[in-house]
């Protein structure tokens, strides 16, 4: 089995490497999909359904086609003509500029036959609710469990029952989804804002019924995805079709409204929980009834029972269809919802029993790594001091409190391939068909290669984000680092071995007497060559090798915990997060700086979920009323607290992924802190001022 060199011998990995493409990004030189302008490029715009449920009877696009500057119009892009949410794509236009395209779309007339719709979970579960799909019920039930729940509850000395609600969150990446499609004969190149260049290539080839080897997908830089850009988008296919019809490249970037409506979200949830425990806080049973709506897409799952160990448990889940955009994977799907409810009912149980909430968690947490993390986090937030404060006990209208939550995630590596060239001038290029969705993958690739070759990171040209490069999977499930790092190491190892053979032959020594350190090649006998001198020996025969993912270099099972300190203004209802301590499991750290950055980003997104973000639906018209960034409120600089990131590294476990787990427990920790501050529990996300004021009035 492959293995990494000892952690303390590493010169590049585990250090603080600034992001390689940072300067390009902050100076505006980095070219995103949005910035691509192939010669003759046209602008595409979508016509979307204003109705939540309707049939397209006819589309009249004659006036749009006749508008000067319009080069292509598609009226057959909806697969069935049966629209199931407001925001579905029904027609598309490509024109010489965006303005003409928008004007043309406004000229398309659609004859709609509307049907009854249902856009909220509460209404959709009603027996008399309109059906989202004619041939099936809105609700699909399932049941899971383990052990004898009745026996467990009969052993309980205390039982707590509580109900929780979480909202629909849209991914809201800064760069919306979109593609630029360009044909060259029967070959297609697509620049796509994507988390999966290879996946999009395969998907596009299938959708366009063409061979995959004639499709190339490129994504050099992208402005976030959070799971919503893992698959090929309908907009990519439409861009390619518009480009084919127009005979010119087409850019089709979604509007912010399109993004909120049509390319995924985190489903909402309604959770009724019941927890039994002995009087010293040992859990005896857990039972829950849950509902979740992923719109027309299913996937409304809530991952209960989250994290803790229960001798017996049962979950009855209801996946609910509504006339809203389908859910997509969103940074730890199903977990933040579950964590928000579970961590609060545990908190309730602890306070009810008069026990320390941390002690109750330790007693029921079977994860040894997290036991140590709880201890570290508690010390950093000064929990021993906070635990003495009774919930709601602070004086004055502005009160503070501290709460906590835990997470687990099951990341792991999988097949990735890479190529490396070492050229006779000493330069190194490594190519891998992964992509950087903003996590720092480009920097990771260079760091691993540099470490293996004994070179500084700047010596490596790391090329990623192109389906012409060797296969790697989508950047989802926090799998990128554990998939890519081993493949790069294996490739660099092979390249180094080939170089060693050539150098050894030149020097007349055995290849295994060479070592590659600090930009030099050292021979056991004492001779030292510079890296360049060694590479010059390659002459016309550059090293060019391919390597792949190996067992033994990556790990899975990522534990973590967080503590949040909040301030609640009981007169205005404002919750301000003051500080978050995030203890994050991270295995062997490839780059400390980008790892911390991911934890920061996850916590920020978690607070945004806790306090602000919410898709607001209008039941009557079936539309989202805040499909913008004015009333769909994403956390800004003034809402960002001090974030104390503690990387709990265990190099012996190999490289693991960190993108998702640290966003899971944030909303739960904030909610528990709010209770600690004001003595009233907020059970409904997001915890906006109206809910805080109502809760205080009801208390």
């Amino acid at each position: 089995m492959a293995s990494w060199k000892p952690y303390d011998e590493m010169k590049v990995m585990g250090q603080r490497q600034p992001r390689l493409d940072g300067p390009e990004k902050v100076t505006g030189r980095a070219r995103y999909t949005y910035d691509q302008r192939p010669p003759g490029m046209l602008y595409g715009v979508l016509l979307t359904s204003p109705h939540a449920a309707a049939r397209v009877v006819a589309i009249d696009a004659d006036r749009a086609r006749a508008l000067p500057g319009v080069r292509a119009v598609l009226t057959d892009i909806h697969p069935t003509g049966n629209v199931r949410f407001a925001g579905e794509y029904v027609a598309a236009v490509a024109a010489v500029n965006k303005q003409v395209a928008l004007d043309a779309v406004a000229l398309i007339e659609v004859n709609w036959q509307t049907r009854a719709h249902v856009v909220t979970l509460w209404e959709a579960i009603d027996e008399d609710a309109p059906r989202v799909f004619a041939d099936k019920d809105n609700v699909t039930e399932s049941e899971r469990g383990d052990g004898d729940v009745d026996a467990g509850f009969s052993q309980a000395e205390t039982i707590v029952e509580a109900e929780f609600f979480t909202q629909v969150q849209t991914h809201s990446p800064l760069e919306t989804h979109g593609s630029v499609a360009a044909w060259d004969g029967d070959e297609l190149t697509v620049w796509d804002s994507t988390q999966a260049v290879h996946g999009v290539r395969e998907g596009l080839a299938k959708a366009l019924e063409m061979p995959a080897n004639k499709v190339r997908v490129i994504c050099h830089h992208m402005g976030g995805g959070f799971g919503a850009k893992l698959g090929p988008g309908a907009y990519s296919v439409i861009a390619a079709k518009l480009a084919r019809q127009a005979g010119a490249p087409v850019q089709l970037m979604l509007s912010r409204k399109d993004q909120h409506l049509s390319v995924g979200n985190r489903p909402d949830s309604w959770q009724q929980l019941k927890l039994g425990a002995t009087k010293d806080g040992q859990f005896t049973a857990f039972e829950c009834t849950t509902w979740g709506s992923g719109g027309i897409g299913g996937r409304g799952g809530v991952s209960q029972p989250y994290v803790y160990s229960f001798p017996a448990w049962k979950q009855q889940h209801h996946d609910v269809a509504t006339n809203t955009g389908g859910a997509r994977a969103f940074r730890a799907p199903g977990r933040p919802q579950a964590c928000f409810a579970m961590e609060q009912i545990i908190d309730e149980m602890a306070w009810k029993l008069g026990l320390d909430p941390l002690d109750v968690r330790l007693r029921n947490d079977g994860n040894e790594t997290r036991h140590e993390q709880w201890r570290i986090g508690a010390e950093r937030i000064d929990w021993p001091r906070w635990r003495r404060r009774e919930p709601g006990a602070g004086a004055g209208p502005i009160k503070r409190g501290v709460g906590m939550g835990a997470s687990i995630w099951f990341t792991g590596g999988r097949g990735t391939k890479a190529q490396m060239d070492i050229l006779s001038d000493g330069t190194v290029e490594v190519r891998c068909g992964t992509q950087d969705l903003g996590t720092g993958t480009r920097t990771l690739v260079a760091a691993v290669a540099a470490e293996e070759l004994g070179l500084p990171i700047a010596a490596i040209n790391a090329r990623i984000g192109d389906s012409d490069f060797p296969y790697s999977g989508g950047s989802g499930g926090s799998t990128t680092a554990p998939s890519v790092a081993p493949a790069i190491k294996n490739t660099a190892e092979k390249a180094k071995a080939e170089l060693a053979i050539v150098v050894a032959r030149h020097l007349g020594v055995a290849a295994d007497t060479l070592s590659f350190v600090d930009g030099t090649v050292r021979v056991a006998s004492g001779q030292t060559l510079s890296w360049r001198e060694a590479c010059a020996m390659l002459g016309a025969n550059a090293v060019s090798v391919q390597g792949e993912w190996q067992e033994g270099l990556s790990g899975s099972n990522v534990a973590g915990c967080q503590f949040a300190e909040v301030e609640v203004d009981t007169e205005t209802g404002r919750i301000s997060v003051i500080k978050v301590v995030a203890v994050a499991d991270c295995g062997l750290i490839v780059d400390r700086l980008t790892t911390e950055s991911q934890v920061n980003g996850a916590v920020i997104q978690g607070i945004s979920y806790a306090l602000l973000e919410e898709r607001i639906m209008d039941s009557e018209t079936g539309r989202m009323v805040n499909a913008d960034f004015e009333n769909y409120k994403v956390l800004g600089a003034l809402e960002t607290p001090e974030i104390d990131v503690i990387l709990y590294d265990q190099p012996e476990r190999g490289v693991i992924g960190i993108g998702e787990p640290p966003t899971i427990p944030t909303s739960a920790a904030v909610a528990n802190a709010v209770y600690h501050a004001i003595g009233v529990r907020l059970r409904d996300l997001p915890m906006t001022p109206d809910k805080v004021l109502r809760a205080l009035e009801g208390a």
Partner: protein
């Protein structure tokens, strides 16, 4: 965007002429107009760019203070006279949007901006404010809508500077085809019962040419507090502007105006009455209660009543404590 003619008049008479047929819209900072143009909300036939009119710029000192309508929010907030003598206005201007927007947004535009109601702002809804027959907020989603003065439309006036300026007793100089007139800012705004389509009383050929503040008195204390859900960038859920004429600790007279809670900046003379002739510190709760009396919340915005009452109480407490930033 619906195509329009762009005109740049050289003098006020030309402005009046460009606006006379009622199909023109004034372009100042453009931060509100551009959004409406893009969403095709009441598209104008003509956009009248007034930015070349020098007399509409700047802050000049006379017995009081005269502010040009093209003065940016950044300039208003940063002006020393405003900050020291009319702190409620400086605080209001500073609370608007973001630094980038404050660099573009003008005082005149802040007073004349259209409502932020999500039904009004989307072309998907042919609502009352756009000449339709329904106010979607009544039975729809109304968390941010009016708790005072609503019906038949329940928009709220979004301006932050308007409540502050009304509290401070500002007057407007208005120019039209027939010359100029003065109008107290308090009388400038009109509710939906008076006029559904226009939130103010500018005639179709008129524009604001000056915002006039009365001389500041040593005995006046003013402040402005705004509550936003999102601190980094948000319109007011509720705001309170208070200007009190004090005799020591006792309130002689004053004005209290609420923002973000009604279709117009909402003056609450009943709250002032509670304060008059009393020591400020002893009358705060009574004034705060009086301010929200008669509120008629919709299904989802009842919290704004509590919030507004508490916000006013806080503003009065700050004035009573004589905080340096709230004279």
């Amino acid at each position: 965007m619906v195509p329009f003619d762009l005109v740049s008049p050289r003098n006020l008479r030309d402005v009046a002429e460009s606006l006379a047929d009622g199909r023109g819209e004034i372009l100042a900072g453009g931060t509100d107009l551009l959004d409406r143009l893009k969403e095709r909300i009441d598209p104008p036939a003509r956009v009248v760019n007034i930015k070349s009119l020098k007399e509409l710029y700047g802050i000049t000192e006379d017995s009081g203070l005269s502010l040009g309508p093209l003065t940016t929010m950044t300039e208003v907030a940063g002006n020393d006279r405003v900050r020291h003598q009319y702190p409620a206005l400086a605080e209001a201007a500073l609370s608007v949007a973001t630094p980038q927007l404050r660099n573009m947004a003008t005082l005149g535009g802040n007073l004349c901006q259209r409502p932020r109601c999500w039904y009004f702002r989307s072309n998907d809804y042919p609502c009352l404010k756009k000449g339709g027959s329904v106010c979607y907020a009544v039975t729809g989603r109304n968390k941010y809508h009016a708790i005072f003065g609503g019906g038949p439309s329940y928009i709220v006036h979004p301006s932050d500077t308007a409540p502050a300026l009304i509290a401070l007793g500002a007057q407007l100089e208005i120019h039209g085809a027939t010359g100029k007139r003065m109008l107290p800012l308090h009388d400038f705004f009109q509710g939906p019962r008076e006029n559904l389509l226009h939130e103010n009383r500018l005639q179709r050929d008129e524009l604001i040419t000056r915002v006039q503040l009365p001389p500041a008195k040593e005995s006046t204390r003013s402040t402005f507090l705004k509550f936003r859900e999102k601190q980094s960038l948000d319109f007011a859920i509720s705001s309170v502007a208070v200007a009190l004429d004090m005799d020591g600790d006792t309130v002689r007279d004053g004005r209290i105006v609420l923002g973000g809670v009604a279709p117009v900046p909402w003056s609450v003379p009943a709250a002032v009455q509670q304060l008059q002739g009393r020591r400020l510190g002893s009358a705060i709760d009574d004034a705060a209660e009086a301010a929200v009396e008669g509120a008629r919340p919709l299904d989802e915005n009842g919290f704004k009543v509590t919030l507004t009452r508490n916000l006013l109480r806080r503003a009065l407490q700050q004035l009573a404590q004589g905080k340096a930033d709230a004279r």
